[in-house]
C-alpha cells in the first residue's frame, strides 16, 4: 500500500457513509445530492494536502460535505423550489388521513430545509454539524477553524431563528414523541 492509499484509508474510508448521509439528509433529493457530493469531493481534492495534516481531518471533511450540501440548499431556497414534488404522492384517491399525512410530512421536511437555507452560512453549517452529525462543539470548531465559543454562538443564534421560523412544527414533534412513547 503506497502513501496515497494509506492516506485514503485513514482520512476518507472511515467516514464514507457519514459523508454520503450528511449530503443526502441536507439536500433531500437525488439530483441535488449527487451534485453536492461531487462538489464536496472536489473541495476535498483541492484541499487534500491541508486535510492530511489537519488535527481533526474527519471533522474537516464532513464540514466540506455539509458546506457543499448547504450551498445547494441555499440555491434552492433562493429559487423557491424547496418542496420536492417527487416526495409527494401523485395519486391521492380519497384524501384519506394517511395520504394527507404523507403530504404533511413532506411539507414539513421541506419547511425545515427551507428555514435552514435561510440562515446565514456559518449558523446553518454549525447547527447542521451539531444537530445532524451530532459532532461536539470542539470538533466543529476545529473544522470551521474558529473558537469553540464562536461555534456555540452560531448554534444558539441558529436555534433562535429556527424557533421563530418553525414554531408551528414544535408541537408536531411533541405529538410524535408522545405517539412513539
Amino acid at each position: 500500500m503506497n502513501e496515497q492509499q494509506r492516506d485514503y484509508e485513514r482520512l476518507i474510508a472511515p467516514i464514507e457513509d457519514r459523508m454520503m448521509r450528511a449530503v443526502w439528509r441536507i439536500c433531500g433529493n437525488p439530483a441535488d445530492t449527487e451534485d453536492a457530493f461531487q462538489e464536496a469531493l472536489l473541495t476535498v481534492w483541492k484541499r487534500w494536502d491541508r486535510i492530511r495534516v489537519h488535527p481533526n481531518p474527519h471533522a474537516l471533511v464532513l464540514h466540506m460535505c455539509v458546506n457543499a450540501a448547504h450551498d445547494a440548499l441555499r440555491r434552492k431556497a433562493r429559487q423557491g423550489k424547496l418542496i420536492d414534488e417527487s416526495a409527494i404522492p401523485e395519486d391521492i384517491p380519497d384524501l384519506s388521513p394517511s395520504a394527507l399525512g404523507d403530504i404533511s410530512a413532506a411539507e414539513q421536511d421541506a419547511q425545515v430545509l427551507r428555514a435552514i437555507g435561510l440562515l446565514p452560512k456559518n449558523q446553518a453549517r454549525a447547527i447542521l454539524m451539531h444537530a445532524l452529525e451530532e459532532m461536539p462543539y470542539r470538533e466543529i470548531a476545529a473544522a470551521m477553524e474558529c473558537r469553540e465559543v464562536t461555534v456555540r454562538k452560531h448554534v444558539a443564534r441558529a436555534r433562535t431563528k429556527l424557533r421563530k421560523l418553525l414554531s408551528h412544527l414544535i408541537p408536531e414533534i411533541r405529538k410524535e414523541e408522545g405517539s412513539h412513547a
Binding site: 485514503y8 464514507e16 459523508m19 454520503m20 449530503v23 425545515v112
Partner: protein
Amino acid sequence: MPDENANDEMDELIRRRTQMEMPVEVEERLRGRLMEFRTKVEQRRPGRLRTLAYSLIHLPPARVMAIAAAFVAMVAVGLVLIPWESRASRVFAAAAAQLRSSQSLEYTIVLNAEPYVAIDFSYLAPGYGRFSCSWGIEARADTNAGKQLILMHATRQYLIEGRKQAESLVNTEDIAEQLRSLPPLADEVLGEQWAGGKKLIGYRLSKAPPNGGIAGLKSLDIWVDAGTREANHVDITVQEGDQPVHQMHIQNIRVNSPIDRSLFDLTPPAGYTAIAKSGPDSQAQTDTGALPVKIGHADALVAVVVPMKGSYQQTSAALQSVEGYLKTLGITPAGAPFGRYWSEQHWEAGYPVAAGIQVKAPYQLISLPAGLAASAVVKGPWGKDSDAHWGAFVKSVIEQGYLPTGPAMEIWSGGDAKQGTPSTEMRMPVAKAN
C-alpha cells in the same frame, strides 16, 4: 434565554425532518463517485511543499510563536551581518575558483534550439580537448603532443594534423579557457531565478576574462547554483561590428566529473579513410585539384524535402519522389535539387520552393535562415571523389579560421542537354572560430 429542553427540541426537529432513508440507487451512484475519487487520490503526487506549509499552519500556537520568533531573529541576523550581495559574491567566487582549478570540464554550446544545433566540448588536464558537433564532425586534440584528429562521421573520413595546423582547433577551446580563468568578482549580480528545482544566482561579466578573448563579446552571464556553488549555465552575447547580435548558450556544465581518456585518442577509428593532404608531405589518394572555398553570405532557403536514412545511393530515388510529389501539387521547383547530411542515419533531399505552401508527411517544408556559409563548386560528374572533395573542403574551412555550424549540403546543377556540364556546390553554414 431558551432552556436546554427547547434546544433539544429544535435539534430533534432538524434530525427528524432530515431523516429520510437514502434510496439504494442514490447510494450506489455516490459510492461510484467515491471510487473514482479514491483512484484519483491514489494517483495523486504528494504535494510536499504545501503539506509542509499546512503542517506549519496547524502547529500549536506556542510553537508557531517560537518558530516565528526564531525566523525573525534569523532574518535580522542575515540582514545585518550577511548582506545578500556579499553572500552572492561568495557564491560566484566559489564557482570561479572551482572552474579555475578544474582538472576536467565538459559543457554543451547550443547554437540553435530548433533545429537543434549544438557542440559538446570536453577538456581534460593537461591539454586534452575534444568537441563533437551535432552535425557529425568530431575533433580531438592533444596540445602537448601538438596533434589533432578530425573525424567526419558523415563521410567516414579523418584528418590528422600536426602542431601548426592544430592551432585552429585549439583556438576553439577558448571558451573553456574563458571559463577556466574567470575573475574572482563579477561585474554585476543579475539576481536569482529558479530552474529545475535549483536556486540560481546570475552574474554578468562585461569584459572578456584576461586569459583569451571572444571577439565582439558584449556580455557573459554565468548562472551559479546557490546550493552547490557550481556553474549551471552560461549565456554569451556577441556582436561583431555591424553584424546582428548572436547568442550562445552553454549548458550541461560538469566540472571535475570523470572523463574517459580514450575519448581523446588520436588513433583513427576503424572503417574511416584518411583525407588527402596538401603540401609537400601530401599523400593524396585522389587528385581533388585546387578547391577554392569561399566564405560568404548565403540566402535564406525554403524547400520541400523528404527525410532519409541509410545509404546515400538512395538520393536519386528520394529526389524523384519529391519531384513527383511537387508535380501532383502543381508546384515547379524554384531551384536546383540538393541534399543535406548529418549522418547516414539522418539526411534529407529535396527542392527549393516558394514559401507558403503546405505539404503532407513524409514530405516536409523546411526553412533555412540566411547566414554565413562556406561554399565551393566542383565541375563535372559527382561520385567517387565526393568524399575527397568534402575532406578538402572542411580542411580549407578550418584553415581559414572558421568552424562548421550546421550540416553539409550538396546542390546539384546541370547534367542534361539543356543545362550542360554538371556541377555540384558544396555548402556549409560556418562561424568564425574564436
